[in-house]
């Protein structure tokens, strides 16, 4: 019993860490889906880019770890603005098929570029000493890095929620999600709002990829392998919602960790089956609004 409780705590802890990372990465996708109705399957590319920025700056330069995290956020956000202005913006009015194909094309290109630059092996994460080791909490030892990761993700999520619920930008985003035409007609520059929100969402994905580099290995096929989890988070959570994807991400985090721990022979089988069942029950997701 004692051993079971101990493993339960450990699974909950690691599941929480994974779920938080998953949320930080995919919340941008949920918001862009709700805001622009754009099916950006290449969202994982931003997370991978953030991961590579972190791992290579820790490996090859003397940039301190926190600065590397900021760099991952800023660089990915800036890069995504260029992509959004040059390419994505052309497809906002296009059909879903075009958006899907276009973003799959981007994934293939990103996978190839990553393979050329970084090779096929997973990028090593060289952490500074002060973040390695164990951290005592409630009479138990936890890996310091994961505690740090949960704390940083928590702060980011709180900041994001505050931004959306309490600031002028957030009010404009919510207005545009509810009714884009109406938001436009009361004088909101939706075009600029889209770009800004897209950059923020991509930057968060970059940060999430960087933070989670130790949990989800950074390798060229990252955007392909992780795609299904982002899609599950957004579809199960509900598009355009902030709360839903968090619940979905934590559910995936806990169940994936628990299944890997207790039933490794089934892989991700139950997660997919549970997702299918859940969407049968609620096709718009847990917190999605019926349009």
């Amino acid at each position: 019993m004692e051993a079971f409780l101990s493993s339960l705590v450990s699974v909950a802890f690691h599941g929480l860490a994974y779920g938080m990372i998953l949320y930080v990465i995919s919340v941008g996708l949920a918001v862009t889906m709700g805001l622009m109705g754009f099916a950006n399957l290449a969202h994982g590319v931003f997370a991978m880019a953030g991961g590579y920025i972190l791992t290579s700056s820790l490996q090859h330069t003397s940039i301190p770890f926190p600065a590397a995290l900021v760099l991952a956020f800023v660089a990915v956000a800036a890069g995504s603005v260029v992509l959004e202005r040059l390419l994505y913006a052309r497809l906002y009015s296009a059909g879903e098929l075009e958006q899907v194909l276009f973003t799959i094309g981007l994934i293939f290109m990103a996978v190839a570029v990553a393979r050329l630059i970084f090779g096929t092996l997973q990028a090593p994460v060289i952490l500074p000493d002060y973040i390695k080791g164990q951290y005592a909490l409630f009479g138990r030892e936890f890996p310091t890095y994961r505690v740090f990761l949960i704390a940083v993700s928590g702060v980011m999520i709180a900041a994001l929620w505050f931004g959306v619920e309490r600031t002028r930008w957030g009010a404009m985003v919510r207005a545009a999600v509810d009714n884009r035409a109406m938001a436009q007609s009361v004088g909101i520059n939706t075009r600029r709002l889209f770009t800004l929100t897209f950059a923020l969402g991509s930057g968060l994905a970059g940060l999430g990829g960087a933070l989670g580099a130790e949990i989800v290995a950074i390798q060229p096929t990252y955007p392909l392998e992780q795609l299904v989890f982002y899609l599950i988070v957004v579809a199960v959570g509900g598009q355009g919602s902030l709360r839903g994807p968090l619940v979905a991400a934590l559910l995936i985090g806990f169940s994936d960790t628990a299944l890997k721990y207790w039933l490794p022979q089934f892989g991700a089988f139950f997660i997919y089956v549970a997702t299918i069942a859940l969407l049968l029950w609620r096709p718009m997701g847990l917190f999605g609004r019926r349009v």
Binding site: M109, A110, L116, I232
Partner: protein, 336 residues
């Protein structure tokens, strides 16, 4: 098979539309003439040829739901893979070696799966539908990967026994039988798909793609039509999968998951969606290019197909056949 099969003239002009005249135009025989000529002209490339024919069949099945009914899927490999594994398990484990029996079993399994999954997922739309199609193929990938005693797991299922076709034609080393067998199956399926597209059923599919709300309004059973075409498409994909197993006498995990679905989408988009013959042109160009380029420059190959996909979406949404059509229209205008 040295030139592209040209577009079906009238059908392609309004891509995916309902064409009242169902007679076979002369251009539509060209792919078959080319395929027959290739059998004699390129005897060293018959294995590649059989592979191309199989992927044409697979792309044809996707075109039916994507191009005509407008159902976007990332999981069409589920049916291809199930067909491939059914044929493989029958041949390697259960001693059912007759190729046509294997084919029928694969078709039935994929078709039933198509009805079951279609009835569930076609109630949803958009990103949710996309995710569900992906989740279903991933479920089967997990099963194939983990049920090693039946499927061989990551090593694949080798030693699939396939008896001679009709008891007469043995699968030979040069791929002659494989090529002709795949060609015959493709021809039969093409004929059926073509009949279907030109039927009122096909017209109602186009209507659903263009405006499902109006189709509801005129009293069309939208949901049942979609499930029906999804099941038909799944059946054909299952046949294509079984053909792949039979011609290789092997089946591996690469028939399931996101990547084969994505590659198939690329092939179809490259040829042209909703044109019937786009499914012929796309795999032909893609697989030949892959045969030359992918082994020598794998990184550049992936980058290249990604780039081509992006360019097609931005500048040439009709694919190769769309470009051919545009060029023909320009020529016609100039001469008029």
């Amino acid at each position: 098979m040295s030139a592209l099969p040209p577009a079906a003239a009238a059908g392609a002009a309004h891509a995916g539309g309902y064409v009242a005249d169902p007679r076979v135009r002369w251009q539509e025989w060209l792919p078959w003439l080319l395929a027959a000529a290739a059998f004699f002209a390129a005897p060293d490339y018959l294995s590649l040829g059989a592979r191309i024919l199989i992927f044409i069949l697979f792309a044809l099945s996707l075109d039916l739901i994507l191009g005509y009914a407008g159902i976007i899927t990332l999981g069409h490999s589920a049916f291809f893979g199930v067909g491939a594994y059914v044929a493989g398990i029958l041949g390697a484990k259960l001693g059912v070696t007759d190729p046509l029996v294997q084919l029928a079993a694969a078709a039935a399994a994929a078709g039933v799966l198509g009805v079951l999954t279609g009835a569930i997922i076609l109630r949803t739309t958009g990103l949710t539908l996309l995710m569900l199609t992906l989740a279903i193929t991933l479920v089967f990938l997990e099963i194939a990967n983990k049920a090693t005693s039946i499927t061989g797991g990551a090593d694949g299922l080798a030693g699939v026994v396939v008896a001679p076709v009709l008891g007469l034609f043995r699968f030979d080393l040069y791929g002659k039988t494989a090529y002709l067998y795949a060609l015959a199956v493709l021809f039969v399926c093409w004929w059926l798909v073509r009949r279907l597209i030109y039927s009122p059923f096909g017209a109602s599919l186009t209507g659903i793609r263009e405006n499902a709300v109006r189709m509801h309004a005129i009293g069309a059973p939208v949901y049942f039509r979609m499930v029906a075409v999804y099941a038909i498409s799944a059946t054909i994909a299952g046949i294509a999968g079984a053909l792949l197993t039979q011609t290789h006498q092997f089946v591996g995990l690469n028939v399931l998951g996101l990547e084969p679905s994505g590659e198939l989408l690329i092939m179809l988009i490259l040829g042209g969606v909703g044109r019937l013959y786009g499914a012929f042109v796309g795999p032909f160009v893609y697989l030949i290019a892959q045969d030359y380029l992918a082994k020598q420059f794998p990184e550049y190959w992936y980058f290249g197909i990604g780039l081509i996909l992006v360019l097609v979406v931005l500048f040439a949404r009709g694919g190769i056949l769309g470009i051919v059509d545009a060029a023909r229209a320009r020529l016609r205008r100039r001469s008029a």
